[in-house]
């Protein structure tokens, strides 16, 4: 039986020849992402800014009447709603600010939800109310804070771990790759104005984990080769390491993409944003492991002297056998 081989043996692509232009482009992309985040801003969901979100599915309409809904709900006197389709064209989320004084009197938020759903149902009997979320400003502030804390703490803790397990240069490289991944993902959310909620924070934490997985596999090989080929120039050694792990990188990325694609196409619409974020993260994360995390080791001057050659049991036996012969 002939097995599928996506990457031929002894592949030798000189990935790092273009490291400087790639680095410049990537750094520009990071800056552009932050530019977008700061100018356009993230479309923060009720989790983070407070307010009320009502999810509606129109069971017998192909496309939700967004413009009409905006008018109907806008006329109720609670201010302009933010209406977005998510997942499928017949599913929308309607977001409102909580009415004035609802911090004291929680009935007001209920009344608003009742009025909005009643006005939608009056015009569209096939409308199904899938859920109502009300989050007060105080709680949303806390959710935002804890979400950001989790992100920053994860990035820092992981970098420290890599510093301890490898060398400080690797820690810096991993950190830069992570900053790259997170920035670009946030940038995409700013660009597309997809809703950014708590689930997306979980998605970003996941892609941090995934991207790191990739970076570690490459780093592990670099560490191994540093011990093996003590005289090889750094760029060559990095190219060798990336090429040696290339097959694995592609097979794993494809595997994860297969499951994510299934989730994206067939899974529940509610987590569309979530899966989309992770899917993007797989591409960005794989790229950053090769082009962000590795070249930085050249500039930070990692030397093989930091790593002591340790011979494995099998290698020792093989050497003894060779010497005997």
């Amino acid at each position: 039986m002939k097995l599928l081989k996506l990457v031929p043996d002894n592949t030798n692509i000189r990935f790092l020849r273009w490291r400087v232009p790639f680095y410049v482009v990537s750094t520009l992309l990071i800056l552009a992402s932050w530019g977008l985040i700061l100018t356009k801003g993230l479309n923060l969901g009720v989790d983070f800014v407070g307010g009320q979100m009502i999810r509606v599915t129109f069971e017998r309409t192909a496309e939700a009447p967004v413009t009409e809904l905006r008018q109907t709900v806008g006329q109720l006197g609670y201010g302009e709603p933010i209406i977005q389709q998510f997942g499928k064209p017949n599913e929308v989320s309607i977001r409102m600010k909580l009415p004035e004084g609802s911090e004291q009197n929680t009935d007001l938020a209920d009344q608003m939800a009742r009025k909005i759903t009643a006005s939608i149902k009056a015009g569209h009997p096939d409308a199904r109310i899938d859920g109502v979320d009300s989050v007060s400003g105080k709680v949303s502030g806390e959710l935002f804070k804890t979400g950001m804390q989790a992100l920053i703490a994860a990035v820092i803790a992981i970098s420290i771990y890599i510093w301890v397990r490898f060398e400080w240069q690797f820690g810096v490289g991993a950190l830069y790759a992570l900053v790259h991944d997170v920035s670009l993902t946030l940038g995409m959310f700013a660009l597309t104005q997809m809703e950014f909620d708590l689930n997306i924070v979980a998605a970003i934490l996941t892609l941090i984990g995934y991207s790191l997985n990739d970076t570690i596999v490459v780093y592990d090989r670099i560490r191994e080769n540093l011990k093996k080929y003590r005289r090889m120039p750094m760029p060559e050694l990095l190219d060798l390491s990336v090429n040696e792990t290339l097959s694995r990188t592609i097979v794993t990325s494809l595997s994860v993409l297969i499951t994510l694609l299934a989730l994206l196409l067939l899974g529940p619409n509610v987590i569309f944003g979530f899966t989309a974020a992770i899917t993007l993260g797989i591409f960005v994360g794989t790229y950053s492991s090769v082009y962000m995390a590795a070249p930085i080791l050249i500039w930070l001057k990692v030397s093989s002297s930091s790593f002591v050659q340790v011979e494995s049991e099998i290698e020792r036996q093989e050497r003894l056998a060779r010497e005997k012969a």
């Binding site: 209920d110 689930n199 994860v256 499951t259 509610v270």
Partner: protein, 536 residues
């Protein structure tokens, strides 16, 4: 490395089997069946986003607890000073700036007063910490300042009681399997699956249900009352809004002292007034409460008294005759529904603090069912495609990878059931991701074996090298994922946590199945078949 003694194999298989068995009850229940009774059947709970239902976060204001403590202290001090063996005369009691302070008229009695206050200020705890600090200023001014320990304890106790009351009220609604948990210093999380009308639940929880009976100050001038000016010794209490018209307005003056609290109840029922056919609530006092109520009504026949609920006057009927039977009827333009709610609230006791809804999420049951179905289909399709990919890429080793994958799935479900964790929507996503990542471990190993073979190593050595060399990267990668998952769990809330739990369990099981189990199978195959060539 490839050595697996029989006991070790047995041990690994039993762990695997046990975890997989634990998944059985949950899997069977999805198919609409159940296992025979009497067998232990751990189940995975479905989160509200999957099962439908309401999540409500209630918050109490700690300032209110502090204020109430000051008020109680004020009353206690007054009673103690009056009831002392030799009554101690004191001036006005002030409760400003978070302290209780008053003058002792005769400076010679300061020590006696101090003695009297001893039991009030020393804490009920065994640690010997004081609840209040007592200071004497200017020779005869006693200042009682609550200690932080005392405040913390009071808030904690109030929240415990509040949680208990909330539980009683929700149980009275007859909903199934509510989750009620205290969170942090001053919050309570309520989760009720499959709830149709969250508004009723919120109304019920929003009622403090503090019932008071106070005498109406009939001497107060209506013009003063309208302006909110209370005569000395009285206070202005607003009337409750009409539940049918929602109109508010009006207030009456009631005497501050001499009333009683309606907290000593044994029962409360919704009923109807026989003459007007209006909805009312009938309450039954316990013995002590009944005696107090009888005394109040006996001494004030012919006078109006106000029934006050949560600081609003429900009604102010005239006492026609002494009520000594220990039961009373509360009228106050109720609807049947609101009377019923009040009855439940009174039965379950008053909340020691007001609770406010600060977060509410509800999911319709249809969406939940839809999500489960789609999640399952996506998972099934994704896994099948992945397994096919593994098979054509790695052949026999791909088969081992797939077997590990299936066991991994079952083990995650089993451990989730044993730990009684909740599967949420992001949890399903975490699940799918774990499967994808678990495959990575096998990919790393298989690729490494390929590489070692290409370098000319013999089959056994290549397999052994594959496992040892790949393990390092697998270990490091999983540790970083554990770090991410732990932080998600610690900092995250709700959905993020559900995701983190699945991820953590998945990391543990995937290392076990993808590394340990496949190694055992490969080792067994190598021993039996002794292949000189690998198809990889």
């Amino acid at each position: 490395m490839l050595d697996f003694p029989r006991w070790k194999q047995l041990w690994l298989w039993s762990i695997t089997l046990l975890a997989c068995l634990a998944a059985l009850p949950s899997l069977v229940s999805v198919g609409g069946m159940s296992l025979p009774q009497g067998l232990p059947s751990p189940m995975i709970n479905l989160g509200l986003d999957l099962a439908g239902g309401s999540h409500i976060l209630l918050e109490a204001n700690p300032e209110q607890v502090k204020r109430q403590r000051l008020e109680t202290m004020e009353e206690d001090v007054r009673a103690r000073m009056r009831n002392a063996d030799k009554p101690i005369r004191i001036g006005e009691i002030s409760t400003k700036d978070g302290t209780v302070s008053f003058m002792v008229a005769d400076p010679g009695q300061v020590d006696a007063a101090r003695e009297e206050l001893q039991t009030l200020t020393s804490g009920a705890q065994l640690t010997g910490q004081r609840d209040w600090d007592l200071q004497v200023l200017d020779g005869n001014r006693i200042v009682l300042k609550p200690t932080q320990a005392g405040i913390d304890l009071a808030i904690s106790q109030a929240m415990d009681t509040a949680t208990e009351v909330v539980r009683k009220r929700i149980d009275a609604l007859g909903t199934r399997e509510p989750t009620i948990i205290r969170q942090g210093e001053n919050r309570i999380v309520v989760q009720v699956p499959g709830l149709k009308d969250p508004a009723a639940l919120k109304n019920l929880l929003g009622q403090t249900a503090k019932l008071e009976f106070k005498l109406v100050d009939s001497l107060a001038l209506p013009s003063d009352v309208a302006q909110g000016i209370a005569p000395p010794g009285s206070e202005i209490v607003p009337l409750v809004a009409d539940p049918r018209t929602g109109q508010t307005g009006g207030a009456i003056a009631v005497k501050r002292l001499g009333g009683i609290k309606g907290d000593r109840l044994t029962n409360a029922q919704q009923g109807f007034d026989q003459q007007t056919n209006e909805a009312i609530v009938t309450i039954t006092f316990d013995q002590q409460g009944g005696a107090k109520f009888a005394k109040l009504t006996t001494e004030n026949v012919g006078k109006p008294f106000a029934i006050i609920l949560d600081g609003k006057v429900l009604s102010s009927p005239v006492i026609n005759e002494p009520i000594i039977g220990g039961t009373a009827r509360i009228s106050g333009s109720f609807t049947v529904e609101s009377a019923n709610q009040l009855a439940i609230a009174l039965r379950s006791g008053a909340l020691p603090v007001d609770l406010k809804v600060v977060e509410e999420r509800s999911v319709g049951p249809d969406l939940g069912a839809d999500s489960i179905e789609k999640g399952m289909i996506a998972f099934g399709a994704g896994t099948l495609a992945l397994m096919l990919f593994m098979l054509i890429t790695y052949g026999r080793f791909g088969f081992y990878t797939n077997a590990a994958l299936i066991l991994n799935t079952l083990m995650i479900l089993g451990i989730m059931a044993i730990m009684n964790t909740t599967l949420t929507l992001p949890g399903i996503a975490g699940f799918v991701l774990t499967i994808g990542a678990a495959v990575d471990a096998n990919v790393l190993i298989n690729e490494r074996i390929r590489e070692e073979r290409a370098r000319g190593r013999k089959v056994i050595q290549a397999v052994e090298m594959g496992y040892t060399e790949a393990s390092r990267a697998i270990f490091d990668a999983n540790i970083t994922n554990v770090i991410a998952a732990t932080l998600m769990f610690l900092f995250g809330s709700g959905p993020v946590r559900g995701f983190a739990i699945v991820l953590m369990i998945g990391i543990a099981t995937s290392v076990f199945t993808a590394v340990t189990l496949t190694r055992m199978w490969v080792a067994g195959w190598l021993r039996r078949a002794r292949p000189s060539e690998l198809v990889l």
